[in-house]
């Protein structure tokens, strides 16, 4: 189960002669449980296009995507319930708070379940659970989303997707625009959701520090091609990331600069400031 991409290509605009490929010949497999994946690549590399295939929001130009047993390809198949796939894989867009529109947080979170024909009372119960899951308390349900802070609004929007109880959660740039504290809390939230539910979480991001510190698998796209699929540790040990327009995590950059400046043999692959300080002491200290 989970999601399998088999030689998937997608051309913009779909079906036109003057098309350009957004993604080309992508094959990969995502487990339904327990993965924490980052999708990275420069703007226009095809990250969002790839993500939109994961819940049949768009259809491949060629190849096929299997989503929890249902095959999605160029031709619509009357037997496949595409809407159900959108429940299985929840997609949270960039700046999802812009899409809040109801007058209470509760109504906003209930919107999705009700769309999927869940009875109102049940949807209300679901909203209660979802708001707690994103780290806010039930009193928020009665509040107007427009009076919340940016970070709170984003949590409410994520609760709206969690209310559909997706197996896999895909988030497009979930930390952009948040201050350092908000960023940290958002990552703790994802870890917490994963610990409690085991759901696979997929983040699209530009933040290599976050990728290095938090995820267990990275998918790198470059000009629509899959150029890396593996652990973040092995990725950042490569010395050719500039050709994919990727930066190195800040800890590696700082420690590499020290290594060069002082000519010392230092293990630059540290994930946070504390372990970075420790290796410096180890090599430079008495």
């Amino acid at each position: 189960m989970g999601i399998q991409f088999r030689q998937v290509s997608y051309h913009y605009p779909s079906g036109s002669i003057n098309f350009y490929p957004a993604i080309s010949d992508i094959s990969l497999s995502i487990a339904a449980k327990g993965e924490f994946i980052a999708i990275v690549g420069h703007t226009g590399s095809g990250k969002s296009t790839l993500a939109q295939h994961m819940n049949a929001l768009i259809f491949p130009t060629s190849g096929e995507v299997e989503i929890f047993g249902s095959v999605v390809s160029k031709r619509r198949d009357k037997k496949v319930k595409y809407n159900d796939l959108r429940q299985k894989v929840g997609l949270v867009f960039q700046f999802p708070e812009y899409q809040l529109f109801e007058e209470t947080v509760e109504k906003d979170i209930m919107f999705g379940p009700i769309n999927f024909k869940v009875p109102v009372e049940e949807a209300r119960e679901i909203a209660k659970k979802a708001i707690v899951m994103v780290g806010l308390d039930e009193s928020y349900l009665r509040r107007n989303p427009f009076n919340l802070s940016g970070g709170e609004k984003r949590r409410v929007a994520i609760a709206g997707i969690l209310a559909l109880d997706p197996e896999i959660l895909v988030l497009d740039e979930p930390t952009s625009g948040l201050d350092p504290q908000g960023k940290k809390q958002m990552m703790e939230l994802f870890k917490d959701i994963q610990d409690k539910t085991g759901k696979t979480i997929i983040l699209i991001t530009h933040d290599m520090d976050l990728v290095y510190e938090h995820t267990s698998r990275v998918i790198v796209l470059n000009d629509g091609l899959l150029v890396y699929d593996g652990s973040p540790d092995a990725l950042f040990k490569r010395d050719d990331l500039a050709k994919y327009h990727l930066n190195y995590p800040e800890t590696i950059r700082v420690l590499s600069a020290i290594k060069e400046r002082f000519g010392v043999d230092i293990d630059v692959y540290q994930k946070d400031a504390i372990s970075a300080a420790n290796v410096i002491r180890l090599v430079m200290g008495q």
């Binding site: 948040l178 201050d179 530009h206 327009h245 800040e250 700082v254 970075a276 410096i280 002491r281």
Partner: protein, 268 residues
């Protein structure tokens, strides 16, 4: 007298909870000031007050000796321009050309002069080839450059960047920062609203807002030496300075590394 004088400025949307409280800030011509603060600290509200998009509850703002009030808003906007976070929110025209022209049209710039300026400033931001394109077809970084061309064409002496890079990828962001550096070299006063310390490292002076008040205001180097200022306002120090702060002072080699880490942060 300072170029920008903000005196006892307070603001509230509802009359109850104050978003900004007793802000006092003097900014000189040609300065590059980063206004840092957590989400909800009031930093974007301050930007909106400075260009007259919001009215203060009390206090005053003077720009180049003109007091900002309803009658002078027009005058003030010839002096101060703003680039917002989301480039999609600032486009009004059908083409890039229309967009660059928009601000000048409001200032009633004669047509011939306007066309000349559109060409000049589009070239300056590297967007000459895009003048007849729809803004919607541009990338985020290109959109921000068009927005900047529109502001430059009005030839304001002060530009506020209100989280202008937060929707850009790292490359577009670095490009925009280089460009802001050029503007600063030309003598434009830069006010950068951000919560990204790496970005703020390009400024000369940091103003830190916390819960609507000025929490700290000083030269970059001086404030970076006070980690508690950042810790108490939900902000982070640059990684290299954070690491430096953890190293001991009683060892010559470690001291040398510490010094180097500071250098590293300042030379980015």
């Amino acid at each position: 007298m300072s170029y920008i004088e903000i005196e006892d400025l307070s603001f509230s949307y509802t009359g109850k909870r104050k978003i900004l409280e007793n802000i006092n800030l003097l900014i000189e011509q040609g300065e590059w000031v980063a206004v840092l603060g957590h989400n909800g600290s009031g930093k974007s509200t301050l930007a909106k007050l400075m260009i007259g998009l919001l009215d203060p509850m009390s206090g005053s703002i003077k720009i180049d000796s003109t007091l900002l009030e309803e009658e002078t808003t027009y005058e003030i906007r010839k002096k101060i321009g703003i680039v917002f976070q989301n480039p999609d929110n600032q486009f009004v025209g059908v083409t890039v050309k229309d967009d660059i022209a928009f601000g000048m049209e409001n200032l009633l710039v004669p047509r011939a002069e306007m066309l000349e300026k559109i060409d000049f400033f589009a070239r300056k931001v590297g967007m000459s080839d895009f003048l007849d394109k729809e803004p919607a077809s541009l990338s985020g970084g290109q959109k921000q450059r068009v927005a900047i061309a529109g502001i430059l064409a009005m030839q304001t002496k002060i530009i506020i960047f209100d989280e202008a890079t937060s929707m850009l990828d790292p490359y577009a962001r670095a490009e925009l920062m280089d460009y802001i550096r050029e503007l600063h070299d030309e003598g434009i006063t830069i006010i950068m609203i951000t919560h990204d310390i790496e970005e703020a490292m390009l400024a000369d002076r940091l103003v830190i807002l916390k819960e609507g008040k000025i929490h700290a205001d000083g030269a970059k180097k001086q404030l970076l030496g006070q980690p508690e200022v950042f810790e108490t306002s939900s902000l982070e120090l640059p990684m290299a300075i954070r690491i430096a702060g953890m190293l001991e002072n009683n060892d010559d080699k470690l001291k040398a590394v510490k010094e180097y880490l500071w250098e590293f942060s300042f030379d980015r």
